[in-house]
């Protein structure tokens, strides 16, 4: 009982910013929409039956695909990057890590707008392509642009946990593998890779979760053509004024993410070595 005062600030924060809003979302999802937004006190479950509509199921599937693609690409780019950084001398590691985190210090929106400039018809991408003799491509306002934007935004969240697990790896384990007859690739496949699985899982989760619910990047780089779960939820609240259905969608999103979190926690425990 003596410890209660200390947990006070944390509990207050959690209540005000987590429990109450989530409770509201949960209760709205079971009510009917009001005519001009808001809700009326008529309990119903029809918001959830609407979720099964192929129209919305497609949006969820599409979001999953976009987020999964972003995650896989981030892993493919992030792992070698983290591997190289972890192999640098101490001082250079710090510099490289600062470089990885540096973009976070400027506005997220400005950085996304910058991608519009880069990817647009007469933008830098097409200039570069023309320079090497390739025709102009129309990337902006496609899924490719959305994935590029998400990848750019969340790649550091992949690199950091990977770096952390790689740098913690005892270098003698790699020497031991070599000593027992493993060439560099075999040593990586049998020792380094399995021992960094927890880092891989964490990185994938860190990229997948914000990509899945993102609505700014699909809006700006997808030009509204690529509707993801995040856009759908925002539209339900702000445009369609259907708060209950928006809440139901938000809960569905949360449910998917919770399942992923639990899966990650389970897998990480299985791979935990000590």
């Amino acid at each position: 009982m003596k410890r209660w005062p200390l947990t006070g600030p944390g509990l207050t924060y959690l209540t005000v910013f987590m429990v109450i809003p989530l409770g509201l979302v949960l209760s709205y999802a079971f009510l009917r929409r009001g005519r001009f937004g808001g809700v009326v006190d008529e309990p119903t479950t029809e918001n959830f039956t609407r979720l099964a509509d192929p129209l919305y199921a497609d949006v969820v599937l599409h979001s999953t695909w976009i987020a999964a693609l972003t995650t896989v690409l981030a892993l493919l780019i992030g792992y070698p990057t983290a591997y190289v950084i972890a192999g640098l001398p101490r001082r250079r590691q710090t510099i490289a890590l600062i470089a990885v985190v540096l973009p976070f210090w400027t506005s997220f929106l400005i950085r996304v707008y910058a991608w519009i400039v880069l990817l647009s018809g007469p933008g830098w991408l097409n200039k570069a392509l023309r320079a090497i003799g390739l025709g102009p491509v129309d990337v902006l306002y496609t899924d490719a642009a959305v994935v590029t934007g998400l990848l750019y935004a969340y790649l550091p969240l992949m690199i950091l946990p990977l770096y952390a697990s790689l740098v913690r790896l005892d270098p003698q384990l790699r020497e031991a593998a070599a000593n027992l007859g493993a060439g560099p690739w075999t040593s990586f496949r049998t020792v380094t890779l399995p021992l960094t699985v927890p880092g891989i899982l964490t990185g994938c989760l860190f990229v997948f979760v914000p990509s899945f619910g993102n609505f700014v990047i699909p809006e700006l780089l997808g030009g509204g053509r690529s509707v993801l779960v995040g856009n759908l939820i925002r539209d339900q609240f702000l445009k369609a004024r259907d708060w209950p259905f928006g809440s139901a969608l938000a809960l569905a999103l949360l449910a998917v993410l919770m399942v992923l979190l639990l899966a990650q926690a389970w897998a990480a425990r299985r791979y935990a070595t000590r």
């Binding site: 003698q172 384990l173 020497e175 070599a178 000593n179 027992l180 060439g183 075999t186 791979y271």
Partner: protein, 355 residues
């Protein structure tokens, strides 16, 4: 079998190895003994292929070893930290090296089982390293290294991670194993007792150089440099005009001056070895069960003379005594041999790990 010729290696400005040469014969149990930072671990890492020396040659069966990448060398290393793969069970750890040789599954199985039986870990085959005790982990590391039947087995401070009791047990086991499998062993250690009890031949290293390579008994009885005389076992070093005289504590005879009836002060401050007689005052007596250790302060000497006698001491602290030793007990170390450490170090080995 292994020939190390004129190997030198630097890390930045530190000279880790300085013109080191050593031959190791087939089936020999050889030890590299020296204090922390003397370069013994560097030499080990060169043999394993983790470092390439700046100059010098290493050959195995007359063929160049240095150009062979680490994973192709018939040399296995038992790491000081064991470096067991934490995500693999004991049997997977041991099988790892054989899998790399692409042996058939049945053959791997058979050899893993055999080696686990040898080190007495059959019951633990499916455990992960973190579920084992220090001694068991060490056996796994050993099993993993010998299962490949290397030409040369390197052991880096093999017993340092173990407590005293397990240590003595493993020491015997290592020796038994070496006889059984007939592999050439090279053990690196800073513990002179470990080196003496395990090895057929010891190379004493200091500051990147090999000071002396000899059988344990020769090394103990006939040290050729001041460093070896001080580092291997306790010793009394008496500086003289043309070198140093070393006398082991157990070779010094002690006599109560009053009881012995010998008068006169033979000690004139400078000491010559042969049949020398010294007088002094007992400053400390300690009883160790089988033996007693005495420290005698002799006028003109910086450090007290150490004496070991069988059983309890007959003299007590404060008594005047005379000391003497037979001529063959005095080992003369000429001054011409470069003294790489300060003179007069009747010291015990420096404890500590390699950096």
């Amino acid at each position: 079998m292994i020939e190390i010729k004129g190997v030198s290696h630097r890390f930045g400005r530190t000279r880790a190895l300085d013109d080191v040469s050593l031959d190791i014969g087939e089936g020999e149990f050889c030890a590299l003994l020296g204090p922390s930072g003397c370069g013994k671990t560097t030499l080990l890492r060169i043999l394993a292929g983790f470092e390439t020396p700046d100059v010098g040659a290493v050959t195995l069966d007359r063929e160049d070893l240095l150009s062979v990448p680490p994973h192709r060398r018939p040399v296995n290393l038992m790491f000081q930290s064991f470096a067991l793969f934490p995500h693999m069970s004991v049997e997977r750890n041991v099988a790892y090296g054989l899998e790399r040789e692409r042996l058939p599954r049945a053959a791997i199985r058979e050899r893993v089982d055999a080696v686990l039986a040898t080190v007495g870990l059959t019951a633990y085959a499916r455990r992960k390293p973190h579920e084992l005790s220090g001694g068991q982990r060490q056996r796994v590391a050993l099993a993993r290294a010998i299962v490949k039947r290397p030409r040369l087995l390197l052991l880096d401070e093999p017993l340092s991670a173990l407590d005293k009791q397990v240590r003595a047990e493993m020491q015997l086991e290592l020796k038994r194993l070496q006889h059984e499998v007939g592999i050439t062993f090279l053990v690196v250690t800073h513990d002179q007792e470990e080196a003496m009890s395990l090895a057929d031949r010891i190379a004493v290293m200091n500051a990147g150089r090999i000071e002396q390579t000899d059988a344990p008994v020769t090394l103990y009885e006939r040290p050729r440099t001041t460093f070896v005389a001080g580092f291997v076992g306790a010793n009394n070093l008496f500086p003289g005009p043309n070198g140093i005289t070393a006398v082991r504590p157990e070779r010094i005879r002690i006599r109560n001056r009053i009881g012995g009836g010998k008068g006169g002060n033979d000690n004139d401050g400078t000491v010559e070895g042969e049949g020398e007689r010294l007088t002094g005052t007992v400053v400390d007596v300690s009883f160790h069960g089988g033996t007693s250790h005495l420290a005698v302060r002799v006028p003109g000497l910086d450090r007290p003379v150490l004496i070991a006698v069988q059983g309890p001491s007959r003299v007590t602290s404060g008594e005047q005594v005379s000391l003497s030793w037979p001529p063959d007990a005095a080992v003369h170390i000429p001054a011409s041999i470069p003294a790489s450490t300060p003179v007069s170090t009747p010291a015990s080995p420096i404890e500590g790990e390699e950096p």
